[in-house]
Symmetry: C2
């Protein structure tokens, strides 16, 4: 039988599938144990380690899908952008005097190796999701030299050097497509593209300067179940539904049952506010229920958070969320809804 | 005759008033000249210097209002929170082991002095806007120890220590009210409250845990023209209109002519995307025109940016925006609109 996560793309699932953004990572004691023995870079680059981290949350939390453990900067690193990791500051990017020296990526076979190993280890009922940053979000890291509070450099680059901006977006898009094809060939069964910083743009600029590249990626992946995650989803909504992704993953700015959301043709993923994982069990459980109820009009729905799991979050709470989502009478609810509309 | 900026609160202005968030600051060569001679802390705390910085953009740009040059952390500093400024990192906040040691603010007479001096120097046609951070935004700085990418500490504090969270919000609210009364007594003619980080919260949590405190502040300032600026305004809209402010200042996530915006009873301020100040004159000018056209249904409208002016922005472009806004035939447009609706 097909996995519930993949069934959800067709509305054929009996229970709601659930996974968490950043589910492979620091909040897990099992991950911390590995990290004591290995540098972060090793954990990303050694297939044996990366596959282990990829599979950990499946065994521990009981989620319905695994996601490839990789960094959002893996791709640009392999394209000639100099990036090193600082344990305190996070990624530090050496801005190239001329980004045109960047080239098509080289040497990402270890990612394929990770995927093959993880796929071997995962049960058949748990699909593996491929991972890539969206071109604009990757571009912001390259232009800002990391994260930013104002994104002044990105805005300036976009406006003052429109051809260079488009050129870099094209180069990143082309390589993202090739990178995801490599992942597909190695065995991923779905893909999620992360556009964490798209929300810093107004809708009109997003539509003209960012969306066409996102579409190009999803078009090139035809046939592979696909998810587009965008932070600041609400104001970009009229354009997100044109992204070409099968499922849209939305953050806390979207009410799942808002009238304009209910008009979508795509599937929906989200959006339990991640800050609620610090709440007591009763509050958390009420919010999980509310999220499920708000999504029940949608035949193709996957449960997830608004943003990622934080390093200091409690594993037991994530387990409780998974149990509650699985116990929710999805199929029965659907029958009930249909009866109501007759 | 009353200043255009104050007339706009009543819909009696003939031209559109314009000012810019962060108009007093680093992008101005005149500010840089002062900064070479004085430490930042001096510039905030010496009325003579702070008043000069407050008035600079009025003379240089020709904006319709000045805003008090003060830091968002001025108030918590005076309440016993230890904060020092690092020239590279910005404000560094010493987290108190027990924030309950904080007290009602002391020693902010220099703010009153700045206001009196600035008021003396400003022409009668240019009102002075008072300034304070909203309690939630100030709280995030205190809890995170500065800015944050994830706001994990804030979310945790809000959920795990609800009474402490509410207690700190109450203390900040009480002091913000007193601080703004001090500003009012010294001569401010309007006030803007900055809630730069409210958008990190989902609407429901904002409504329950943040909005009541914002309302309390605006209620206490009855009679003083008031503006509430919120980043991430779109998803909070149903609650922003309950804030008690006379005018709502919105960011790039709001389309000024969206149907749900047109239902508002308040005045509107905003929202030229600040990134467009890096664009060429033709692009910038088209965007300014579009913003004005999108706002023309609104009888009480003030032109501003989505977020603040950035340090590397071009003074000439800001001047051009001011000229264009002032040249826009607002009153004639209004007559034309009325004729259309007869």
């Amino acid at each position: 039988m097909e996995a519930a996560f993949l069934q959800a793309f067709k509305g054929e699932n009996k229970t709601v599938p659930v996974w968490f953004m950043r589910q492979a990572g620091r909040y897990l004691p099992e991950y911390q144990a590995l990290k004591k023995k290995h540098a972060l870079q090793e954990m990303f680059c050694q297939p044996e380690l990366a596959a282990e981290v990829t599979c950990q949350p499946v065994d521990i939390l009981g989620v319905d899908a695994a996601i490839l453990f990789a960094d959002i900067l893996t791709l640009p690193s392999a394209m000639g952008f100099e990036i090193h990791f600082d344990s305190r500051k996070g990624p530090v990017i050496q801005l190239m005097n001329n980004w045109r020296q960047a080239h098509d990526f080289e040497g990402l076979d270890y990612v394929a190796g990770t995927i093959r190993l993880a796929r071997q280890r995962l049960p058949a009922s748990v699909p593996l999701i491929g991972f890539a940053g969206a071109p604009f979000t990757v571009l912001t890291y390259l232009i800002e030299g990391g994260s930013s509070l104002t994104y002044a450099r990105t805005f300036r680059f976009l406006q003052e050097q429109p051809e260079a901006f488009d050129g870099l977006m094209r180069l990143l898009t082309k390589n993202t497509v090739a990178y995801l094809r490599l992942q597909r060939q190695a065995g991923i069964q779905a893909v999620q593209i992360f556009d964490s910083w798209a929300g810093i743009l107004p809708a009109v600029i997003f539509a003209r300067r960012v969306l066409p590249f996102v579409r190009e990626i999803f078009d090139a992946l035809e046939g592979l179940p696909s998810i587009y995650f965008c932070r600041g989803s609400a104001h970009l909504w009229p354009y997100l539904i044109q992204s070409g992704a099968d499922v849209l993953s939305v953050d806390h700015t979207v009410a799942l049952d808002a009238p304009w959301i209910r008009g979508m043709r795509q599937g929906l993923q989200g959006n339990l506010f991640n800050g609620l994982l610090y709440a007591d069990h009763a509050t958390l459980s009420a919010a999980v229920h509310q999220t499920l109820e708000a999504a029940r009009w949608q035949p193709r729905y996957i449960f997830n958070l608004s943003h990622g799991v934080m390093p200091d979050m409690d594993v037991e709470k994530l387990k409780a969320v998974v149990r509650q989502v699985h116990a929710y009478p999805w199929k029965e609810k659907k029958r009930e809804d249909l009866a109501l509309h007759k």
